[in-house]
Symmetry: C2
Amino acid sequence: MEDNDALDKIDAIRDLVNANLEAIIAEQSSIFGEVAQVSGQVVLAGGKRIRPIMVMLAYELAGGDDLDEIIPFAMSNEFIHTASLVHDDINDESLTRRGHDTIHAKYGQAKAIIAGDWLFSQGFGLGGQYEKEVVDVMAHYCSKLASAEFTQIDHILDLATSPEDYLDIVSGKTAGPFAAGCKGAGLIAKADKEACEKLFEFGMQIGIAFQLVDDLLDIRGDERMGKPRGSDIYEGKMTLPIIHALTILHGNQRVRFADILHNFNDSHFDELISLLNFGDSLNYTEILIQNHLERALQNLDFFPDCDAKQLLKHLVNMVQNRHK
Amino acid sequence: MEDNDALDKIDAIRDLVNANLEAIIAEQSSIFGEVAQVSGQVVLAGGKRIRPIMVMLAYELAGGDDLDEIIPFAMSNEFIHTASLVHDDINDESLTRRGHDTIHAKYGQAKAIIAGDWLFSQGFGLGGQYEKEVVDVMAHYCSKLASAEFTQIDHILDLATSPEDYLDIVSGKTAGPFAAGCKGAGLIAKADKEACEKLFEFGMQIGIAFQLVDDLLDIRGDERMGKPRGSDIYEGKMTLPIIHALTILHGNQRVRFADILHNFNDSHFDELISLLNFGDSLNYTEILIQNHLERALQNLDFFPDCDAKQLLKHLVNMVQNRHK
């Protein structure tokens, strides 16, 4: 498949996802009023829709051929993702998301907490209609998401955070939902156990790469993030480039690096990046991204060639090219 | 059935509920660590367990006879209820709940938001294993809970709040989950549509009465509430006695009453109660409680006499006697 063809096909799936999200928000707003409208604004503010697109492609790859069967699950993934963003933004005190004011910035914190709860309810309502095995996978990874967020809070500005801690947090917070979405799609398509595990691992690996790319974008700055450059550092989040540099740097450089992390402001950016480059930490992160994306691709080898496989490979490329 | 017999039987069901909650928290803590332990403390801090007890009795009343079939649903109701308490306490800035420090008071707000999300995930995981109709009822009432909370926030210190607004909020926030729990139990027991609607209405009516009793207890003060007397008034919540008094009082009394609500502190209690008594607003609330409890009982008439029916009647009495 040509790149342009793949892009068109992914755009078509995104359009379908967006149309379904719009229909749900319109319907639910007529039932639930303000909370649905306010929460709906975040859902409909855009976003790459990479989660629902991946769910739909994973379903097709696993042999599923009934769009109506998978759409509620794809929607469920996007609603739960949005719910976690709304609550994250409160905890991170972020004022913008997807280029718009966050709910708590616009409507106050109380409504933001409740809007997140409403989005969770919608997500679970949509996902709860599937068989127990699917619900178990989703509920487990939602619980794990919360567990990883606790761990992340415990590691705020903890300069002893190890790459293992990082992987533990990321595999719960970012990659777990990707993995659960892909595995759930396989289960819904009635794929066998091995196929479901390959889909799970595909989701996990692309999810880890996705987070590593986010780590880089936060440092390099990118308007597509829809939030200010360096947000992670201001929030004291231990991203992989930071963890790597803390391991590599010694003596005065290590002291200075730690000092910058503890008292970060925009004037430190050049020095921060020069220290990260001295430790080769940005390159190291890029190599890791490459490794995880290759592992993601290896899990696709299990499946026969088909359009969905080509499109999932294209998604892998899209993740890779986000930071370039 | 003698009252003491009924009490013993309800205690036995509560013990069963508590044993199941403890087992779930122990198991989940071994999987999810800190977030499960912190959230588990709130679940296990006590509480009357009226929701899961009612679910189990409604199931039995509807003809269900397999405890294993209903227990996850009863647990689901208690987890979702606890989740909403944790988030409510953040929004209400409450420092104690069930006689203990609230999560946000003890572990900070970020962890409290996430702990609530974890509890929701657990609740939906437990409830998501039932057929679509049951999940739809639960998800609908969770969404409605959020919608009612939005409305409640919009009516903070809104002295024009009408009894209809109040009923709208209460039927979403307190009574809706009772109604959905009872109806869900009927669906799980495979009761017919009429029986499920009677159970729904039973839950709705006892739930409204329950909230009205809470309104009275907040004004009269009761250590069983586990929170300071007058919390609702400090938070600007429009409870029914307040709404009634605002309608009845005139002239200087109305002005003074409004002034007290806007600038409430403990020294105003005697004057507040004397104004409420002048409007007969506490008695009026008691009559309403009585009416709703009678309507709850009428919905039980539909069902044949049995132990579960006797015990549900006993629950009605317990709600009635909470404020005496």
